[in-house]
């Protein structure tokens, strides 16, 4: 039984050896020089198409989004305007003086002295400048003014504040010194 099996296996091997080796050689040759370039071209084209379709879908989404955004932007123009007022851009030089003096006037406080520092950059988009103010008024008015500055929608930060009871210019009036940092946003540059 074993001898018979071995004989059959040997004969099969002997018969198919040259056929199989020739077939394999030709398959490698054809596969490398004929099938491979064709398939590579096909894969490259399909990849390119997939990428282009992805770009196309992204652009479609972008158009939809931008149209919707523009409609919302126009609808919320008042909010945008308030934002402009809260964080103005650098081209408005007199804005700080106007804002501070108008607010002080509303609270019966007199700005007796005001000095402004130059602009210093703060991060990529912001710039800041500090106003040193000497304010004169009653304690109540001064505190109300300081509170107004703190609660103001205009973005600012009260850095230093000095209240002294014995520096009053007249009866019931006092003087305080305040360092207020005002923030500005970078100007939009159109090409």
């Amino acid at each position: 039984m074993r001898i018979g099996q071995r004989t059959i296996t040997f004969k099969l091997k002997e018969k198919t050896y040259s056929v199989v080796s020739t077939t394999l050689f030709c398959m490698i040759l054809f596969g490398f020089f004929a099938i491979r370039p064709s398939l590579l071209t096909l894969i490259a084209l399909r990849t390119e198409l997939a990428e282009l379709k992805q770009i196309d879908r992204a652009l479609t989404r972008k158009i939809d989004d931008i149209v919707l955004t523009k409609a919302n932007y126009i609808e919320n123009a008042s909010i945008i305007y308030n934002l402009e007022q809260s964080l103005p851009e650098l081209n408005i030089e007199a804005e700080a003086l106007n804002f501070l003096s108008n607010t002080a006037r509303n609270f019966n406080v007199v700005i007796t002295n005001a000095t402004y520092s130059g602009f210093t950059p703060l991060g990529e988009n912001l710039k800041q400048r500090t106003a040193r103010l000497t304010l004169s008024g009653t304690y109540k008015d001064l505190m109300a003014l300081i509170e107004e500055f703190e609660q103001s929608s205009r973005v600012l930060q009260l850095q230093n504040l000095s209240i002294s009871s014995n520096t009053g210019v007249s009866k019931n009036k006092m003087t305080i010194t305040a360092d207020i940092t005002l923030f500005y946003f970078k100007e939009l540059q159109y090409e």
Binding site: E14, K15, S18, V19, T22, T23, C26, M27, F30, A34, I35, S38, L39, T41, L42, L45, R46, E48, L49, L52, K53, I55, D56, L59, T60, K62, I63, I66, T69, K70, Y73, I80, L83, S86, L87, G123, N125, L126, M143, I146, E147, E150, Q151, V155, Q157, L158, Q159, N160, L161, S162, I163, S164, S165, N166, F183, F185, L188, Y190
Partner: protein
């Protein structure tokens, strides 16, 4: 020779290995070789045909992209403006988040100290509150500290200086106070 002498034999007389090399190549070529060539040609032709469809799809998609880019051009300035406003809004929120307010704390300090205590100077600098008070007695100072503690106004309190007037019995005390964050954050 009669018909009976003609024997039809469908089994090959010899096995493949018994043929000459040229015969072997010939037999292989008209058998497996033919099939391989047909398969290769079929692959190449099907790829070549599918290229037409793919090229067409690529051209159509490219044209669609070009058209959409053209459609987006009028929105370019708006997009720039919108991005600008978007980053401005982010900066606005960030600045407001880190904003420190002092009036609430100052008012609370004024309300906490007793009526017989006089604030000489009050200043706020680098997130610290410096206070110089004139107190009629040590008890007033204790009441003031108790009030600060009860309202949890400050995280730390440092007595910078303390002087007592022997004639009037008044105390002048300077304090450096670190406010509790709850009182200075919006």
């Amino acid at each position: 020779m009669s018909l009976r002498d003609h024997i039809i034999n469908l089994i090959p007389e010899r096995s493949l290995e018994e043929y000459t090399t040229s015969r072997k190549i010939y037999l292989w070529s008209i058998g497996i070789g033919r099939l391989m060539i047909i398969l290769t040609e079929l692959t190449a032709v099907s790829v070549w045909l599918s290229r037409f469809q793919l090229d067409h799809q690529i051209t159509t998609t490219s044209k669609s992209i070009e058209q959409k880019i053209e459609d987006l051009k009028p929105y370019y300035e708006f997009e720039k403006l919108f991005r600008h406003e978007e980053s401005k809004l982010a900066a606005f929120y960030e600045l407001n988040k880190s904003k420190i307010i002092y009036t609430k704390l100052i008012k609370e300090v004024s309300n906490t100290i007793s009526f017989d205590t006089v604030i000489n100077t009050l200043s706020v600098s680098n997130g610290k509150l410096n206070l110089t008070t004139k107190l009629p007695s040590a008890l007033s100072f204790a009441i003031m500290l108790e009030g600060f503690k009860k309202k949890d106004l400050f995280e730390s309190l440092v007595i910078s200086s303390a002087t007592a007037d022997a004639q009037t019995g008044e105390y002048t005390i300077s304090l450096s106070l670190t406010p509790n964050e709850n009182w200075i954050k919006q």
